[in-house]
């Protein structure tokens, strides 16, 4: 079954991203496809490549990134960051940084910035859409 996930909260402060990640891993282990993970509102902070948690703590950003690069079938899980939510919070990829005259970028390469249409499309294309928020 095709399942998509929406995450509305950032890492470490709320449990939403952790729960969503464990859910995604369990779904893949059961042979389901995670069609897309859409990071919305404060959820965009899950995509910062500058995240450096203590060594004995889970690395939420890298966990998601690893899921994006390899899943059970060798398919990528699409990790999509809402552009409007990201720009408001100072989350930029190289392209958005260039457009806005900012000298750096901080989106992890496993994620990509796109629009809200990607969330709607995920809802249409997937059999299930599960929201994790706070």
């Amino acid at each position: 079954m095709k399942i998509s996930i929406q995450i509305n909260e950032g890492p470490y402060q709320h449990q939403a991203s952790d729960t969503a990640y464990q859910f995604a891993k369990a779904a893949i282990a059961k042979g389901h496809e995670i069609f897309r993970v859409f990071f919305y509102h404060d959820g965009v902070d899950n995509a910062s490549r500058f995240t450096v948690p203590p060594q004995d703590d889970r690395h939420i950003v890298n966990n998601w990134a690893d899921l994006g690069i390899k899943n059970a079938d060798g398919n990528e899980v699409e990790l999509v960051v809402c552009v409007a939510a990201a720009l408001r919070r100072g989350m930029l990829d190289a392209s958005e940084a260039g457009k806005n005259g900012i000298d750096s970028n901080n989106i992890h390469p496993a994620f990509r910035i796109s629009g809200l249409g990607q969330l709607i499309e995920a809802g249409i294309q997937s059999d299930r859409l599960v929201v994790f928020g706070d």
Partner: protein, 98 residues
């Protein structure tokens, strides 16, 4: 439908709002701080009634993390993340009460 509750009923009204609208075929899954609703002393009679019908689930890992495994009310079924996935697959639309 699957309804997920992720907040304690001491903190938010989401469990009560869900119970007020739930239909006869839907099930409830308690996750994150929502598992506190599964503890005996926090149990509402409506939730207990649904539990006797086998329609209330709680995420085992979140129960254990909060140290309330000995307080879980009768008839509430414990599931792991794989069980969470099965509930999503079986029950069509998922409503996340936040």
């Amino acid at each position: 439908m699957l309804h997920t509750i992720n907040k304690s009923s001491f903190e938010r009204n989401s469990l009560q709002s869900c119970l007020n609208t739930i239909d006869d075929t839907s099930v409830i899954l308690l996750i994150e701080d929502g598992v506190i609703c599964a503890a005996n002393n926090a149990n509402s009679s409506m939730l207990a009634e649904l539990a006797t019908q086998g329609r209330v689930f709680a995420l085992q890992g979140d129960i254990d993390a909060r140290g309330i495994s000995s307080k879980v009310a009768d008839n509430i079924k414990l599931v792991d993340y794989a069980g969470f996935v099965d509930l999503v697959v079986e029950h069509g639309t998922t409503v996340s009460w936040v």
